[in-house]
């Protein structure tokens, strides 16, 4: 594994993402020719806002571009978090959802929607708190004899997820009317809503989170061969676990707070990347991030076109597309 290989593969994936982004910019209920899009983008970049038709500005800069940006953010965050959890647990089923981290983030977000509606940043902060708190509880419950035990941890995560989902259901039945509708839609995963917070901050946190997990990738490779072996080779296993858990829950909270519960990405994308490029985490972390972005942008482009003019929640799209692909890949691997 050389640095050049990592850079080349990531560059290739980024190129795919870029092409996909351009194609996605052209697709939508509002018809715009490719030429109009290019002209509008040029005018936008040159700051000549008055020259472009108001519609084009709204559609490209108000709707499609922010949405693609949000999709990239969410996809990258969830996939990287999933890859991190899978390494720590040495369990292919690990995923932000299985561990209850997503549910914790969702509960935090819903509480903030009820208690402090329409406050910029409150949803994100509450989602982080929810995700961190869940990880802390699951981490604590997952310890056995002073050691983190993968099986116990996974079970604790499942219990936490179902408990938190029940609390969410309780809250949703006590809230009525308009808020409820928004929440139900948001829970299914939705990229159309404005995150109500500056995207630059979200991207900053995304890069910090992915960066932290990436710094542990050599250690994760050793942990994959077994925790005892990794310890004997001088890896501070508990420190690595802590870094990855905190970063992964940061990423999950980030994604859930802006887009709700989008499933399958954290599970599916790292698996696909592993099948394509092998299990080396130095390659797997960055490829999962870009691959997740590709997956969500694709899913969201489909979500806003297949039932046009209505839109599907992107979470429904990822589940419809993700589940069969996942089953196919699993069966092929078993053969």
């Amino acid at each position: 594994m050389t640095l050049a290989r990592i850079v080349w593969i990531c560059a290739a994936l980024a190129a795919i993402l870029f092409v996909e982004g351009v194609v996605s910019l052209q697709i939508g209920a509002y018809h715009m020719s490719a030429r109009d899009i290019v002209v509008t983008l040029f005018q936008g970049a040159a700051g000549r806002w008055d020259e472009m038709p108001g519609d084009f500005k709204s559609v490209i800069f108000g709707l499609r571009l922010p949405r693609i940006a949000l999709g990239i953010l969410v996809g990258a965050a969830l996939s990287t978090a999933g890859a991190g959890f899978q390494a720590l647990l040495r369990n292919p089923l690990a995923d932000p959802y299985v561990l209850g981290v997503s549910s914790g983030a969702a509960l935090g977000t819903i509480l903030s929607m009820i208690l402090t509606p329409h406050t910029a940043g409150a949803m994100q902060a509450a989602a982080f708190v929810g995700a961190f708190a869940t990880v802390a509880v699951v981490y604590f419950l997952g310890r056995r004899g002073g050691q983190l035990d993968s099986a116990t941890l996974l079970l604790a995560g499942i219990v936490a997820a179902s408990f938190l989902s029940a609390v969410i259901m309780f809250l949703m039945t006590t809230v009525s009317g308009r808020d409820l509708r928004g929440m139900a839609f948001w829970l299914m995963g939705d990229l159309q809503s404005d995150p109500r917070v500056d995207l630059r901050w979200l991207y900053f946190l995304l890069i910090v989170g992915i960066g932290c997990i990436f710094t542990t990738s050599s250690d994760l490779n050793l942990i994959l061969t077994g925790e005892q072996e990794a310890r004997h080779l001088g890896v501070n296993v508990n420190r690595v676990k802590l870094v990855v858990y905190i970063s992964a829950s940061l990423l999950t909270g980030l994604a859930v707070s802006v887009s709700g519960a989008i499933g399958y990405v954290g599970l599916l994308v790292p698996h696909v990347m592993r099948m394509l490029f092998g299990t080396d985490y130095r390659l797997l972390i960055p490829t999962s991030a870009i691959g997740g972005a590709i997956a969500i942008v694709l899913a969201d482009t489909l979500a806003r076109t297949v039932v046009a003019p209505s839109e599907l929640p992107v979470g429904a799209m990822t589940a419809i597309a993700g589940a069969p692909v996942f089953i196919y890949l699993m069966r092929r691997r078993m053969r």
């Binding site: 509002y30 936008g44 500005k57 571009l65 940043g121 006590t174 509708r181 630059r200 901050w201 806003r304």
Partner: protein, 355 residues
């Protein structure tokens, strides 16, 4: 402000990469350092409609959810995001100004032929932009997110939120004013007001009938005391047996058996066979057939208009009153058996549907 918003957007990491790569320029390096202007951005975005107010002829109004909206003085193109609003626009005779509506807008039938922008909870913002509306009409069934997104795009959104029948009349008059049809609206509202007053006179001194209003059968969902349907029931001389602060509470059949409603009120879905089937199904269903009202055939099927705060609601109230107070409005039912009674109530539903 607009420049700050868009320039800020261009400085975002990934869109920056996309746009930057497309245009051969690097993303702005100070992207992250320049963050933290969200509060300002939100505040100035909120002023955006006011800015358009200056250039076109607009007036600032406060909508029914308390938002300040700059509505053009001369509204020509309207997009409705809810069936009741579409119905109101048609009732005011303003359908020529209706540029688009939702896939749920089925009353009157002509509304189905208007360009659709999607369903009320998840309309396509792009489709709305493409219709170039001067004004978008929303209600509480739409999501806040939709309203906020449209506002951010500089499209005026006026949200109606009627909680009572009187509110609905006021909303109708207001909508007429907004769309430059003050007279039509005033006469329509006056007519509806008269109908309601006549109904009130005939129902005076009648005790309220205790009903179970079925919003959804399985699971059983009924209405709360703060919904406009609860108010519509009062106008029809009835009262829900369920007292709940939730708008659409889910309740157990045990509770219904205990409270012994005098009548069951169902909403029809505009098809005659379905209406008859609805009553037959209910009478055949376990537990339901234990309810005294069902045994006696005291089931009223009422047009779906009862669930929509639009001018059609008044007619639905009148029909409901006729179904629930046969001693005032219809021939005596005492002589007929339960079977006939149920046919009679079905007929109420059919009349309502045939309208």
């Amino acid at each position: 402000m607009r420049e700050t918003f868009l320039a800020g957007f261009l400085r975002l990491k990934m869109p920056g990469v996309i746009v930057g790569a497309l245009l051969g320029c690097a993303p702005h390096p100070g992207a992250l350092a320049a963050g933290l202007t969200q509060q300002q951005a939100t505040a100035s975005q909120a002023q955006d409609p006011a800015r358009t107010a200056d250039k076109a002829g607009t007036k600032m109004v406060t909508d029914e959810t308390g938002r300040r909206v700059a509505v053009p003085v001369n509204v020509q193109r309207v997009v409705s995001l809810a069936p009741n609003l579409t119905e109101t626009v048609y009732a005011l005779g303003l359908e020529d100004k209706l540029a688009g509506d939702t896939t749920y807008c089925d009353t009157p039938a002509a509304a189905k032929n208007k360009p659709h922008v999607g369903a009320p909870v998840n309309p396509s913002l792009e489709a709305i932009v493409a219709l170039h509306p001067d004004l978008v009409l929303a209600t509480a069934i739409n999501r806040w997110e939709t309203v906020e997104s449209l506002e951010r795009l500089g499209i005026a959104v006026y949200t109606m939120d009627p909680h009572t029948v009187q509110d609905m009349l006021e909303s109708t008059a207001l909508l007429g004013d907004l769309m430059g049809a003050h007279e039509q609206a005033a006469s329509l509202v006056a007519k509806l007001q008269t109908t309601l007053e006549e109904l009130q006179t005939s129902l005076r001194e009648r005790p309220l009938v205790h009903v179970l209003f079925v919003v959804w059968e399985d699971p059983l969902i009924t209405i709360g005391q703060n919904t406009f349907i609860a108010d519509a029931l009062r106008w029809a001389g009835a009262e829900s047996v369920i007292i709940s602060k939730q708008d659409w509470p889910q309740i157990s059949m045990e509770e219904v058996l205990r409270l012994e409603p005098e009548y069951i009120v169902l909403t029809s879905n505009h098809s005659e066979t379905d209406t008859a089937d609805q009553v037959r199904d209910l009478r055949a269903r376990a537990v339901w057939n234990e309810i005294e009202a069902v045994k006696l055939g005291r089931i009223v099927v009422i047009a779906e208009e009862i669930t929509r705060p639009s001018p059609g609601l008044v007619q639905a109230i009148v029909e409901l009153a006729h179904g629930l107070h046969p001693e005032i409005f219809g021939p005596a039912q005492k002589s007929s058996g339960p079977e006939k009674q149920s046919r009679k109530s079905m007929a109420v539903g059919l009349v309502a549907c045939a309208r």
